[in-house]
């Protein structure tokens, strides 16, 4: 983890309220793992005062030329609004990589191949594209389910398709893909795909969705890794602001997470 000055290489609206920012941050790009995050000091003034946490969306470049990170974000408040107005060439302080990321699957049983199912809800797609890339690099069979309220909020479908042909979409209102929650799509996929795999589910999205997916995974005895989002100040485990209740006591989203084994969480 380091606190570095990073220059903005680009900062553009991708669609609707979603923006993508590319930052020149070689140290972070080289040490980041999928699921980790950075804390960005959006402004030098006191508005906003605290840094804002963003998961690392992509790392760009190859080998020793890895030097850029991408942040995918939704404009929801003061911090992200300031961020969305930043211009190419400006720079700011960025602290990272922070937290513990996703754990890639290991096959336990000798005859079972690992299979990853990635489930993304809304802006929850942000850390999952990096994960899909790493999984497919390791030649792990990967299925991606993307859910959102409506068509225009579906994120990263093309990005995921670069890594796997098995990408499925659902919208709550049925304007695109299957109609209904992504948990319904998950049920359907499980019914229609082979089950002789050691399945690991990776999920990021709204709290209610995480809880629902975690429950399905528990019923099926799948390992399920959830990426949680909490208000946080420091990002390094000092302020104790981002507590997550777990079966083994209070844990911190910033330091112990943001990725947790869903069975650990008290939902």
């Amino acid at each position: 983890m380091k606190d570095i000055k990073a220059k903005i290489l680009s900062n553009e609206k991708t669609r609707y309220v979603y923006y993508k920012m590319v930052l020149d941050a070689p140290y972070i790009a080289r040490s980041a793992k999928p699921g980790q995050f950075v804390e960005i000091k959006c402004s030098d003034s006191f508005e906003p005062l605290l840094r804002r946490p963003f998961s690392i969306h992509r790392v760009k470049g190859k080998g020793s030329r890895v030097k850029e990170i991408e942040i995918l974000y939704e404009v929801v408040g003061k911090g992200t609004d300031v961020l969305s107005k930043k211009q190419k060439g400006e720079s700011f302080d960025i602290l990272g990589p922070l937290g513990n990321g996703f754990v890639l699957p290991r096959a336990h049983a000798p005859n079972l191949e690992p299979r990853a199912i990635i489930i993304s809800g809304g802006i929850g797609a942000a850390p999952l594209v990096f994960l899909a890339e790493e999984l497919t690099k390791k030649k792990i069979k990967t299925i991606v389910l993307i859910g959102a309220k409506t068509k225009k909020l579906i994120l990263c479908e093309k990005d995921f398709k670069k890594f796997t042909s098995e990408v499925y979409v659902s919208t709550d209102d049925g304007t695109y893909g299957c109609k209904g929650f992504v948990s319904k799509l998950f049920h359907n996929i499980l019914k229609t795909t082979e089950s002789n795999f050691e399945t690991v589910v990776y999920v990021c999205g709204p709290h209610g969705m995480l809880k629902c997916i975690a429950q399905i995974c528990e019923e099926r005895n799948f390992e399920c890794q959830v990426s949680l989002e909490e208000n946080m100040a420091c990002g390094i485990g000092a302020c104790l602001g981002c507590v997550v209740k777990t079966k083994t006591g209070n844990k911190l989203a910033c330091k112990d997470g943001p990725v947790f084994d869903s069975k650990e969480i008290i939902w």
Partner: protein, 304 residues
């Protein structure tokens, strides 16, 4: 070479910049980002005799130029502190002051008695002013209770005692005097201001605890005024706390009468802010040809 050294009770600090309780963990959290031994002093996250789970989420919320927190003194308790946190703190090479809190005088007494035996601990800060714990009136809201807690701790330890005061009182000078009379070596002020924030869409509080402590640059002018008032009325050192973000803020508190200062909320935003402020103070002293920082303390010019 400019002299940055300051003394608080029996503690000699190499510079007046200290990390405030609750904003610096147990220092290890910052080891990769900060040269810890350069900091003047480190005040730990408050410990209590028994573990405390703290308050429900959400625990923090940003406000205009500030933040509210309602952590609720979450900590693993004394035994865990000694086993898990103290070994690291002892190796840093800068004075470590342990912040303690208790539900009653006995708990303060027991904690101080146990800490008194530990050589690597330089001092004790009495957190009698955390606004986020549920009890019948805070110690720091009452001069008599403040006196009694400090007196009890004074009896059991020769270590430097710093009493941390609450700004949520009618007359902070009166409480500071009570701490001084009971034998406190210094007072630190201010703890956070009790505040709240509401989500107008849901009409629910933005904090799980409803109310919380306000900190950050928005409280600085009030904290500064309190440091000014207290330092003119007591003879023990005052440690200034409240929204210090830069070296010029730190210098301002020292001119107002603070012997040292503590950095709180700024640690969350800029992990190495203490280092930056130490450098900035040195530059200020050089620029103003001040040889010894003690010349700065209380050098407020009241002629208009």
């Amino acid at each position: 070479m400019t002299g940055l050294g300051v003394k608080i009770g029996k503690i000699s600090l190499k510079n007046p910049v200290m990390a405030a309780s609750g904003t610096f963990g147990y220092a290890k959290e910052f080891e990769k980002l900060v040269n810890l031994k350069h900091i003047g002093g480190i005040i730990t996250k408050t410990i209590t005799l028994n573990p405390r789970a703290g308050n429900p989420m959400p625990r923090i919320c940003e406000t205009a130029a500030g933040m509210l927190n309602a952590i609720g003194l979450q900590n693993e308790g004394f035994d865990n502190f000694i086993k898990e946190k103290l070994p690291y703190l002892s190796k840093i090479g800068t004075p470590v002051i342990v912040s303690i809190s208790g539900n009653n005088i006995d708990e303060f007494f027991i904690l101080a008695k146990r800490l008194d035996k530990i050589k690597s601990i330089s001092g004790i800060e009495l957190n009698i002013s955390c606004p986020n714990i549920k009890c019948e009136g805070l110690v720091a809201h009452d001069a008599k209770e403040t006196y009694e807690v400090v007196k009890a701790v004074r009896k059991i330890t020769g270590k430097t005692i710093i009493t941390k005061l609450s700004p949520n009182v009618t007359d902070i000078v009166k409480i500071a005097k009570a701490a001084e009379n009971a034998g406190s070596d210094a007072v630190s002020l201010v703890n956070t201001f009790l505040g709240m924030a509401i989500d107008i869409e849901t009409r629910k509080p933005k904090l799980g605890n409803i109310t919380g402590g306000l900190s950050g640059p928005c409280i600085k002018p009030i904290a500064l005024r309190m440091v000014y008032d207290v330092s003119r009325n007591i003879d023990i050192p005052v440690i200034g706390i409240g929204g210090i973000m830069s070296a010029s803020d730190a210098v301002e508190f020292m001119i107002a009468g603070a012997s040292t200062i503590q950095i709180g909320t700024a640690n969350f935003i800029e992990p190495d802010v203490c280092g930056k402020i130490i450098k900035g103070i040195e530059e200020y002293l050089r620029k103003h040809k001040i040889e010894n920082i003690e010349e700065l303390i209380g050098s407020f010019n009241d002629k208009r």
